[in-house]
């Protein structure tokens, strides 16, 4: 009997990233159902997961979860490789880049709220840069800039507070497991 030649070893890290990415995709889908007055203005709930992953497992894991979130979200929402998908990807990329720099800020003074707000501005910046360069090469984007920036500030702050609360709750309730994300069922 011949064994399968292709074997993909799955590490616990892979499972954790897959589980967190599924969580992020779930939030992306839930958020897509929320009506929004301006296209592109969304709470960005998946960024809560990205931020938690960044703070607990590092930037590499966050980048994986973010990439899988964009890909999986595009697949499930039917917008894979459509303009909206590329805008989402550009936003996620810019946001990850900002986080790569911002996570080196001294954590004594800069908490999750800072990271969340900066990431939100990065997200909207990446999206608008691509939109201005590719989709709407005119002044239309400039007119909406204050709306997007205000949304980024608001939702970034709210998401950051949620992340801070989740981290504080995890630290106080479960000292034995530092993870605020419940371990998978056996």
């Amino acid at each position: 009997m011949t064994r399968s030649a292709i074997e993909l070893p799955v590490t616990p890290d892979d499972r954790r990233i897959a589980r967190l990415a599924a969580l992020a995709i779930g939030l992306t889908l839930a958020e897509a159902a929320i009506p929004s007055p301006v296209p592109g203005v969304k709470p960005g709930l998946a960024n809560i997961v990205i931020l938690l992953v960044l703070l607990q497992y590092g930037w590499r894991a966050a980048a994986w979860v973010s990439a899988l979130r964009v890909l999986g979200g595009g697949l499930l929402l039917g917008s894979l490789f459509a303009p909206g998908f590329w805008l989402s990807a550009a936003g996620a990329l810019a946001s990850l880049f900002v986080l790569a720099l911002a996570r080196h800020l001294p954590s004594r003074h800069f908490g999750p709220v800072s990271l969340s707000v900066l990431a939100a501005f990065g997200h909207i910046g990446g999206q608008l840069a691509l939109a201005a360069w590719w989709l709407l090469p005119s002044a239309a984007v400039v007119t909406l800039l204050p709306v997007f920036a205000a949304a980024a500030l608001t939702f970034g702050a709210v998401n950051g507070v949620i992340v801070a609360r989740l981290l504080a709750g995890a630290a106080s309730s479960g000292r034995q497991s530092a993870s605020c994300i419940p371990p998978s069922a056996p």
Partner: protein
């Protein structure tokens, strides 16, 4: 502890950015000169660079106009309803104050006009 000192700074900087973007993206074209007309004829075309007061005569009397850096207004006018005085400071390109029936008008001009002409 949800908010640390730096977080407040980031939030304030973000609010400042939003305010700056709003001012930049939503403010119209700021004017840089003022055209003063009497009975439809241009009597003066002055830049909005330094403070000065201009007096122009119309059929009812003298209209006094104040110019300051970036803005201009009608200070006093003999017209009965004082509409052009109540309009206050004009700053944006295309804004105008008409003093009727003294036939004096004030129009702010910017780098590019928002429209070719206005009919009243």
């Amino acid at each position: 502890m949800l908010l640390r000192a730096g977080d407040v700074g980031v939030l304030l900087a973000g609010a400042g950015l939003v305010a700056a973007l709003t001012a930049w993206a939503w403010s119209g074209d700021r004017g840089d000169s003022v055209v003063i007309r009497a009975a439809g004829r241009i009597v003066k075309n002055l830049p909005l660079t330094h403070a000065q007061t201009v007096s122009v005569d119309g059929p009812l009397g003298t209209t006094r106009i104040a110019i300051e850096p970036g803005r201009a207004r009608v200070v006093a006018d003999p017209s009965p309803r004082q509409l052009c005085v109540k309009q206050g400071w004009l700053t944006q390109s295309g804004q105008a104050a008409l003093c009727l029936p003294n036939q004096i008008s004030l129009e702010i001009r910017g780098r590019k006009a928002a429209y070719d002409t206005l009919g009243y």
